[in-house]
Amino acid sequence: MTEKKTPLLDELEKGPWPSFVTEMKRAAEKNPMAADLLLQLERSYKDRKGHWKHGGIVGVRGYGGGVIGRYSDLPEEFPNLAEFHTMRINQPSGWFYNTKALRTICDIWEKYGSGLTNFHGSTGDIIMLGTKTENLQPAFDEFSEAGFDLGGSGSDLRTPSCCVGPARCEYACYDTLDVCHNITNTFQDEIHRPMWPYKFKIKFSGCANDCTASIARSDCSVIGTWRDSIKIDQDAVKEYVAQGLNIQELVCDKCPTRALKFNHETKELTVIAEDCSRCMHCINVMPKAIRPGQEKGATILLGGKSTIVLSAFMSWVIVPFMKLEKENDYAELKEFLNKIWEWWDENGKTRERLGETIYRVGMSKFLRDVGLPAVPQMVFRPRANPYVFWPQEEIEK
């Protein structure tokens, strides 16, 4: 189907790493939209700029988001890209699939789309790249029939995502997959019908290794932790010693709080539990010998976002420890989310992320408004200036 040449893109079929150009060509053999996409991309490589028009609103019945409108700025040249919209399909927790479900997705996209996809987009959705406006509704109907739903887009709750969690990780301090699934289903209206100042992302990481990068790229980061002491298996410690691991240098000396002591004679490793800040380093190096504690839960942080507009923010500790219990349907977390969304809705300006609103209004006012106690875990260190906005009701008049 692709008679025209793509000399620039062909250069990207060379080399050992799997090539997206090869994938595009594979799709182009069967699908005219993919064939035009290949040619338009070649054109972008020549012109050194993108060839998509600005924005465009499209959707399916009952939803305010989940579909991204996209139109070529060269529709005469690439008529099959005149409409080339993206559908975001909500992934299962942890990005686990059976092949029957995956094949169904492929079959639907063969019928209605370009045959190109991303596994996955940055937020977590399956990204179905390129379809025409008239195909959106029938494609959605079949996805829905197959048990799949749209993800978020625009000023709404974006599709939550989580790490592999207890499905395959011994570090998980709470059931990230279950919480993610539960929260996603509880807040379907918030995901599918934009009604907030701006987007809101939640990511669930089972431990402080933070494999979903929640602290950098979610407005609400839920990071697993524990409140008691790490557990050390001395026999396993001795095994590591026998294998030649330099525990003093690679574990104890790298402990940020110097909470670990290694006895070179007895080959025993001990911890000063109250000094440990649960960073995961020792567990990462010696997973057979050291495990998280037993009283597990999560630290809740707020405000993470990337550069636009005030600068990138990392999430701030707001609730140092919260139990996440299936038995009560994660009631505490849901109540917390509803409370901060209500506050943000009242205080946030258009296109202002939660972190920017809190920063503008002030952390102390935010905490008072939502009724959260100020605790020292929230700050690296207290303020260095004396400019307190004293609530006047605290002043004797």
Binding site: E11, G15, P16, W17, P18, F20, M24, A27, R48, K49, G50, W52, K53, G55, R61, G62, T86, Q91, W95, F96, Y97, N98, I105, C106, E110, G115, L116, T117, N118, F119, H120, S122, L129, F140, F148, S161, C163, P166, C169, H181, Q188, A208, N209, D210, T212, I215, I223, L250, P256, C279, N284, V285, K288, S306, T307, I308, L310, S311, A312, T350
Partner: protein, 352 residues
């Protein structure tokens, strides 16, 4: 009408038997060889996960190929990682070697575990984004080709996480990566007054500018830009198609280094800019791949075992980083935006 708001399929239906049976009961893991994780449960059950690099932008036939492999070796189950790798989940140890052999035959790279480079998290770029300052997939392919030896081995000082965002919206949230490549503009928006008049909320457009460079112009029912105040973030273009900022001659990439999101040892940190601009030399961005290679080489040579890029640089000092890499320092690398002060040195201790 189709059912709406049904949410995603339940993950329990997507888990292979060995995971269902050992859910929450994993005891420890090992990395028997690069790209292969071995998890052992409290009951002694064993699960091998074989991690495979993917180009992320894939055809449905590629996905079907993955399904064929998973049907043959993994009881029909697989997963994807947060960095767009594929993981084949093998419960039957006798199938591990045949799976690895078939992956090798199909040219699918196995790796990305432990002290290695994992897949590069990236955005859409010219393939599908409407505001990109650079492409994504092409640069990622060129860098992964160049650093390929570090994907299938575990010989780096620590893990290496690279992220790429094709504009400052940073959909890929690259800003906390060991190496971040970010698409940047260098020229102010060119106003198409007709487009601004037609389809733009002027107050929102004015408010979108972080430096207050955009003012309304009641006479033209459009806006004016104080070009001296513009730092080319492109937020106005996101707000209005009339603020054209794409500029093929002057758009390109910046490189930032030393960020991480893990809390291990040191707090999560932002990547810091070390190269303010490199050109968009499609199709293989030689200046970008060479710069990344140079930074990685110097880190490999100088870092201590277990030191992420940022931990190494913070230990030796940024001034030392510039002298070791030979990357020129300039005033462009000194912050002059709103949170700049904390980056200025307020101690008389530093290295020459």
């Amino acid at each position: 009408m189709a059912k709406i708001d049904i949410g995603p399929p339940h993950f329990k239906d997507m888990l292979p038997p060995v995971i269902k049976e050992n859910y929450g009961k994993w005891k420890y893991h090992e990395i028997p060889r690069p790209g292969v994780l071995k998890h052992v449960s409290e009951d002694g059950a064993v699960l091998y996960s074989v991690r495979v690099g993917s180009p992320r932008l894939v055809s449905i036939d590629f996905v079907r190929e993955l399904c064929d492999i998973a049907d043959k070796y993994c009881d029909g189950y697989l997963r994807f990682t947060s960095r767009n790798n594929v993981e084949f989940l093998v419960g039957d140890e006798s199938k591990l070697e045949p799976l690895l052999a078939e992956l090798a035959e199909r040219g699918l790279p196995v790796g990305g575990t432990g002290p290695s480079i994992s897949n590069i998290v990236h955005t859409q770029g010219w393939v599908h984004c409407h505001t990109p300052a650079t492409d994504s997939s092409g640069i990622v392919k060129a860098i992964m080709d160049d650093l390929y030896e570090y994907f299938g081995s575990m010989k780096l000082p620590a893990k290496l996480r690279i992220g790429l965002a094709c504009c400052l919206n940073m959909c890929g949230a690259a800003h906390c990566s060991d190496i971040a490549i970010v698409g940047v503009h260098r020229t102010p928006p060119r106003i198409d007054h007709e487009k601004v008049q037609k389809g733009t909320e002027i107050p929102s457009l004015v408010a979108s500018c972080p430096t207050g460079a955009i003012r309304p112009n009641p006479k033209t029912k459009s806006v004016v830009v104080n070009e001296e105040k513009c730092m080319y973030c492109g937020n106005c273009y996101t707000m209005s198609p009339g603020m054209e900022i794409l500029d093929p001659k002057n758009d390109g990439c910046a490189i930032l280094v030393g960020g991480k999101t893990s809390n291990a040892r040191t707090a999560p940190s932002f990547s810091r800019m070390v190269i303010p601009f490199l050109p968009n030399n499609a199709p293989r961005w030689p200046e970008v791949t060479e710069a990344v290679r140079k930074i990685v080489d110097v880190w490999v040579k100088n870092a201590r075992q277990g030191e992420r890029m940022g931990e190494w640089i913070e230990r030796i000092g940024w001034e030392k980083f510039f002298s070791l890499t030979g990357i020129p320092f300039s005033e462009k690398l000194i912050d002059d935006y709103i949170f700049s002060r904390e980056t200025f040195r307020t101690a008389a201790t530093f290295k020459f």
